[in-house]
């Protein structure tokens, strides 16, 4: 799915991947547990993995992952944009409006905007 959206050559999987991959630390209630320092320390492994790919964007599969990885990106200074898959699917289809781009980086903010006149 991701490859069909961003193009085969633009997809860089992290290592280790699939079932050997690491949890980002956003799940299990960790986001609401109050143990922020520990949560960020837990996520260091994930942030290192993401940075090692050299990719410009990270796609998160669910809302908890998105919130956690987005915070990791800022906390550890990588500042890579973290996006939902639905955002990239709509961008690739040319139907992503100006108000649906909250998590896109500056490089894609203005690309192929659907009904740009409706920007708010």
């Amino acid at each position: 799915m991701v490859k069909s959206v961003v193009g085969e050559e633009n997809f860089i999987d992290m290592q280790p991947n699939r079932s050997n991959n690491y949890c980002c630390g956003g799940g299990g209630g960790f986001l609401q547990s109050g143990f922020k320092d520990e949560r960020l320390q837990y996520g260091k492994l994930k942030d290192d993995q993401i940075k090692a790919t050299g990719a410009d964007y990270c796609i998160a599969g669910c809302h908890n992952c998105h919130a956690q990885i987005h915070e990791l990106s800022e906390h550890y200074g990588g500042n890579y944009p973290v996006v939902h898959l639905w955002t990239l699917i709509c961008l690739s289809l040319g139907i992503l409006g100006p108000n649906e781009r909250e998590y896109l980086g500056d490089d894609l903010k203005e690309v192929n905007v659907f009904h740009p006149e409706t920007a708010m």
């Binding site: 079932s19 050997n20 991959n21 690491y22 949890c23 630390g25 956003g26 799940g27 299990g28 209630g29 960790f30 609401q32 547990s33 109050g34 143990f35 520990e38 949560r39 320390q41 837990y42 996520g43 260091k44 492994l45 994930k46 669910c62 809302h63 908890n64 919130a67 939902h84 639905w86 955002t87 699917i89 709509c90 289809l93 139907i95 992503l96 409006g97 108000n99 649906e100 909250e102 659907f114 009904h115 409706t118």
Partner: protein, 244 residues
């Protein structure tokens, strides 16, 4: 000197935490089968937090150190991602041990954020951890849909139904989208529309998050899940789509 340090004598005195967990898991969760190889700990992102790791946690349980386990905050730092089971040669269900350890302390002493989110979900049949009511959800969905149908005429026929009977898919939604970033609802609606998918939200049980599960409050967890599933069944949908 050894008996001053290693206290195994109390093991038979009472029912151990690990034995109770074994009783409720298929094959006892293989909790007796640990080879102490440490594969679990070597690949666990929670290793080292609070001087704990999965192997140590299991060994403490096996040694009957129930009080120490109950006092540890570490079970709240494990996301129960199950990687430890995946790499374990004996397929030991450490995440279930961790989950049940969360219930060892009184409900009101569990992390406030998780507790508050669960209690909030119990207030409305929406099961929203942010306390969103049926009316508020309906207003946001209809308002956003109307706005986009007008602004983007290619999607004038797009739908975002609530309680549509006989739909193919019942879709849930994280509360954060309708409450704090409603524009983020739209891309998914567009994809479903273009794919010709027959779907619906439920006025009850639309919220995808379930902090009662994370709280290890089994009755409340069941209530939240049942509220959503009952609504899906009432509408006669064929497939439940979980977006969380």
């Amino acid at each position: 000197m050894a008996e001053a340090v290693i206290k195994l004598g109390k093991k038979k005195a009472r029912s151990l935490f690990i034995d109770k967990v074994k009783e409720i898991l298929p094959e006892g969760g293989n909790l007796n089968a640990c080879l102490t190889c440490g594969a679990c700990s070597s690949g666990c992102p929670a290793t080292g937090l609070r001087d704990m790791d999965p192997r140590k946690f299991l060994r403490m349980a096996a040694l009957g150190m129930d009080e120490e386990i109950a006092a540890s905050d570490w079970p709240w730092m494990c996301t129960m991602c199950q990687r430890c089971i995946y790499v374990c040669p004996m397929k030991i269900d450490i995440p279930q041990l961790v989950f049940n350890a969360r219930a060892l302390r009184p409900r009101e002493e569990r992390p406030k954020g998780i507790l508050g989110s669960c209690d909030m979900a119990l207030k409305n049949d929406t099961t929203s951890a942010m306390g969103t009511t049926e009316e508020d959800f309906e207003f946001v969905v209809e308002d956003v849909l109307e706005e986009y149908r007008e602004a983007q005429p290619e999607f004038a026929d797009m739908e975002a139904p609530i309680d549509k009977e006989g739909a193919e898919f019942f879709l849930n939604q994280n509360s954060r989208e309708p409450v704090t970033e409603p524009d983020e609802l739209v891309p998914l609606w567009k994809i479903l529309h273009l794919a010709g998918v027959n779907w619906t939200y439920g006025s009850k049980g639309w919220a995808g998050e379930n902090y009662c599960m994370f709280l290890a409050d089994d009755d409340a967890w069941k209530h939240v899940t049942k509220t959503s599933v009952d609504q899906a069944n009432k509408l006669g949908v064929k497939t439940y789509l979980n977006t969380e």
